[in-house]
Symmetry: C2
Subunit: 276 residues, 2 copies
């Protein structure tokens, strides 16, 4: 008995005419997928394992719905469940997918020549890093380019106390920055920025001049200058930096070095298709 849908046939023709931009909402698409992603985002480094009730509370979804959702996600491998009746956590499959993302980045190939050139030009160590929401993960280095497809070293450091981290952070949407700040800013040296308000100012400054600096905020005696790299959709997702011992890099040099770093970073962005 389906009496539900009975739409007047006359209206149909008119449909094509009215194409006012306001009526067509950005329509988030599949409703269930929105829910799934929402659930995934409930997990974080401080919320590693959550019960059904906790997930309900944080998402606002009804218990029954959430339960079905979680079961399906577990079945699909997006979530793992501690034993049979216990808490949920992010699934191992996500780790696998994440590593595939990293391995498939064009950044490895495209950035190599620029990273090496930058190393030769400055005579200092150059780092290439991507952002994972919390850390700046180093995927390339002058003199020892990393090849993610055949085994590699990966080094990572918190984003708030490294030049690459701040260069990326400065261009993230507010939501990302808020999430980042929510987990706290650990101190590493006596110059590490641990006050969220101060960091926001620092990022503002970084945006305004186009490059970031690290004054021994992670490792004592080590200064760095970094500039952001954009993917072909224009989003900042990586950065390059030049590092040097503090006593070897007088403040007067920073501006000069920064220009070179920015130039190379922009070249990498272009190689990735940004603005093409």
């Amino acid at each position: 008995m389906m009496i539900i849908s009975r739409i007047p046939e006359q209206v149909i023709i008119l449909n094509r005419i009215d194409r006012p931009p306001t009526t067509t909402r950005p329509d988030e698409g599949l409703k269930s997928l929105v829910k799934v992603v929402r659930v995934l985002h409930v997990f974080s480094r401080t919320a590693r394992a959550l019960s059904l009730a906790e997930i309900c509370q944080r998402t606002g979804y009804p218990r029954s719905t959430t339960h079905r959702l979680l079961s399906s996600m577990r079945e699909a491998g997006l979530l793992d469940q501690d034993r049979n009746r216990d808490r949920y956590r992010l699934g191992l499959k996500l780790y696998e997918l994440g590593n595939t993302v990293l391995a498939n980045m064009d950044l490895h190939r495209e950035a190599r020549p620029y990273v090496e050139a930058l190393g030769r030009l400055t005579g200092q160590v150059v780092h290439l890093a991507v952002f994972d929401g919390r850390h700046a993960v180093v995927i390339g280095k002058s003199e020892s380019q990393i090849d993610a497809t055949s085994g590699a070293f990966l080094e990572s450091a918190p984003a708030h106390c490294t030049s690459v981290g701040k260069a990326i952070l400065a261009y993230q949407p507010d939501a990302v920055l808020d999430t980042f700040l929510a987990e706290g800013l650990a101190r590493f040296t006596d110059t590490t920025i641990t006050d969220p308000a101060v960091l926001r100012q620092e990022l503002e400054l970084t945006r305004s001049r186009g490059y970031s600096i690290d004054q021994a905020e992670h490792q004592p005696g080590l200064n760095c200058v970094a500039a952001p790299i954009r993917d072909l959709s224009g989003r900042v997702f990586a950065a390059v930096s030049v590092s040097g011992a503090a006593w070897k890099t007088p403040p007067s040099d920073v501006g000069r070095v920064a220009k070179i770093v920015i130039h190379h970073a922009d070249a990498i962005s272009r190689a990735l298709g940004h603005g093409a």
Copy 2:
């Protein structure tokens, strides 16, 4: 034997007679989520960027459906799209989620004492690694335990030529192994196993004796012995190994060392809740 549904209601019969016409299966849950995951799995290290048509072809879904699906996934951040009308690839958000999975693993905490004990007992270097579908990623080492929450080094090597890799691979479901083999086995030394059939045999052997060995298959002159680690659902997802210079470890020692490695690996599994 199997009673599918215990609802012998006579009343309902009129309304929905056909209960088990097509779906007698354990009901995979949200249909759309199954599709989403299927699409995610179409991507791999050899299929980095795919067009709508290619994805349709590989999944078998109709164009229209796939298009809607891809749009929603892009909106959700699960996929990124090169420019506006171009290919799709796995989204950066997946990388972020993957790193969260790694950071949230109890393995870091729980395994540390056992890894260190194993290092003291054998006097050799001990590695703790997890599997990402392709590589064995080292997340812990005797003498220098890695803390994923505050910055770290990660070293990874292909699974087919390391003891940790083979220990994990030996216990993976067929589908995972097939995917792994499909991308080829790179040669590193003259003992590296590059023939899929030979590797399958080797894994069979590994299963039967409970530990794996690496006879200089990745680095010349370096032998290793590894044993699998299970999470609390019983799945093998990690392994520990002991490495030593080939000339220092006579074949007669392998059995003795393997026993110790297995013992510690099992202890870690238990600490994670396996069999509790």
